[in-house]
Symmetry: C2
Subunit: 337 residues, 2 copies
Amino acid sequence: MNIRDIARKAGVSSATVSRVINESGYVKEETKQKVLAAIEEAEFVPNAIARSLSIRDSSSIGVIVPDIANEFFSGIISGIGERAANNQYNIVLFDTGELPEREHQCLMMAESQRLSGLLITPISELDEVTRDKLIQFENKGIPVVLVDRNIRNSILDGVFVENHEAAYKAVEALIQNGHKKIAVITGPNTSMPGKDRLNGYKSALRDHGIGLREDYIVSGDFKIMKAYERTKELLELPDPPTAIFASNNQTSLGVLKYLTEHKLKIGRDISIVGFDQIESLKIIDYSLSTIDRDARNQGYLAMEMLIDKLTRKESKSSGRKIFVPYQMELRGSEKIK
Amino acid sequence: MNIRDIARKAGVSSATVSRVINESGYVKEETKQKVLAAIEEAEFVPNAIARSLSIRDSSSIGVIVPDIANEFFSGIISGIGERAANNQYNIVLFDTGELPEREHQCLMMAESQRLSGLLITPISELDEVTRDKLIQFENKGIPVVLVDRNIRNSILDGVFVENHEAAYKAVEALIQNGHKKIAVITGPNTSMPGKDRLNGYKSALRDHGIGLREDYIVSGDFKIMKAYERTKELLELPDPPTAIFASNNQTSLGVLKYLTEHKLKIGRDISIVGFDQIESLKIIDYSLSTIDRDARNQGYLAMEMLIDKLTRKESKSSGRKIFVPYQMELRGSEKIK
C-alpha cells in the first residue's frame, strides 16, 4: 500500500494525498475526509507509524563504495559490518561501479531511505554534486564519514591512508633496486588516492634526480582491464620501462595478467610494486611487493567514527581525519635480474 | 525522534504512546491528547508517513550472506547489485559470519526493515528457526530466493549449482591421475553444499572401488584457518593422503597456506582440487585445479528470480530451482610427480 494506492482508493491525485498527510496546501474538507477514510480503511496510518518507529529503533547506515568485487572494498564492508552489528545497525549497500552518474543516483536513493548515517568512498574529490549532497545530509542531521577518499574543499570527517607517503616509499623501493625507467599506471586522476599516489611517484623520482617522462605516466581506472591495456602500451614503447608502480590492487592484477599471458616473470624480466596487497597471492608466497594495510580495520574504524558522531548527536563534520597504518612489504618483485 | 522521545515529551510510558498510535487498548482521553500533542509538536506523524511513503517507492531488498570477505559472496553481491540497480532497488546487507545465532538476529533485523524481498544464503539446511522465518516472510507477501544453499523440507525457490555432480568430477580427476589416498576437508555438514559435496566425494570413491577412510574425512567450516589446521592434521597422519579435495575456495586457501609454509608444492609433492576458483590465482596462471563458476552471474540470476516473483506479485515459492553452469578446470594441481 503506497501513496498511489491510497490516491486510487480515494479517487484523487497522489499530490492531494500528499497534501493531506503533510497538512500542507489547501484541500477541500470533503476531499480530505475521503483521503483520510481511504487511509483508515487501508489501516495505513497506524501501521506506517508503528513500522517507522520500530525501524528507527534498528537503524540503517548507508554504505556507498565504488567496486564491491575489489577485495579491498569487501574487506572495508566486512569491517563496517562487524562494528555495525555490535550496535544493531543495518547496512544499506550501494555500488557505484566508479561511475559518477551512478553515484548521484545512489545518493538520491540513500536520501529516500531512513538512514541514520552514511559512509561513502566518493569516486572523485572534485564532484560538487556529491559534495553538496553530503553536506546536505549532515545539515539534515545525518552524519557522514568518508572512507579512503577525501573530497576537496570540504571538512568532512574520514578514515584515510597516507597515500603520498606510501606511494613515495613504493617507488623508492624500485629506485633503490637500480631502476631509472619507472612507469606508473595511475588511478582516476580526479580521485584523491589516484592523485596523491601519482604525486608520491613524482616526488620520489624528483628527489632521486630522475626526470619525469610523460610516456611512462599512463592513466588507469583502478580496474583490471584498463591496467592490462596500459601495460601492453608501456611494454610496446620503443624504450619500455623496467619497472611499474601499480596504483591499486586491481591495477596490479591487470599488470600481472598481461605479464602472465606474455610469459614475463616479475622480479626477473620486469619489476613491479603495487598499492594494496592481494590476500591469496600472499598466501601462496607470490613475490608481488605491495603497500599492505588492513582494509577490514579501516572499515571498522570508519564505522566507529560514525557511531561516535551518532552518539554525540553531532552530525556535522569538523575535518577529523584518521590515518590507518600501512607497511611496505618487499617480496621480490621490486628487483630485476 | 522515536517512540521513547515522544513518551518522554508527553510524560507517559512508551507502551502508552504505542497504544495511542496503534489505536489499541484503553488510554484516558486526557493522556491521549497529551501524546497527540507531543507527536504534533515533534512534527512526527506527517514526517513519518511521508517518509514511509517515499521509501515504499524505492524498495529495499534484504541480502543475507555468511561471509562477505569470501570473493564468492562479494561476486554474488556484485551480481545482485547490478541487477537490482536496473530496477532501482536498494540492497540491505547482512553478514552472518557463518554463525547461526547471528543469522537469526539478521532475520529479525530484516523483519523490522520495510523490505520488498529477501535473498539469503542460509548457513544450515536444517535450521528450523530460519526456515520458519523465511516461510513467514513469504506468507506476509515478501518473496524469498535462496542463494547457493537450499533448506531441507521447504519448497523455497533458489539458484544453486549441482554440488554433488561437480564434487564427483573433482574427485574423479584426482582418481584418474592415479590417486587412491584422497582426503576431503568438508564444509559445515549441516550446509547443503557441505553435505552434497561430501557425498559427491564419497560416490566418486565408491564408483571407482576405493574404500572410504574415516581419517581422510575431516570437517572444515568453509574458512581459511580451520582448513589450515585440518591440512596439518591430515599431513601428520601416519599414512597421509596424497591428494586433498577442498570443499570451497577458502578451504583451498587454507590448504595452500599450510603447504606454502611447509614448502610443499602442489602438483609435485601433493595434489589438490578445490571447489570454486580464486580469481587472482587464475590471473597468474597458478596451477590450482578448481570447479569454476561465475558467482556474479549466480547473484544476477537470483535477483532476477526475485524480481520475477515481485512482478508477478506472487510471493510464495513453488520449489523453482535454477542451476548455474560450472566447469572442471584442470591446471596441474590434480597431478603428482
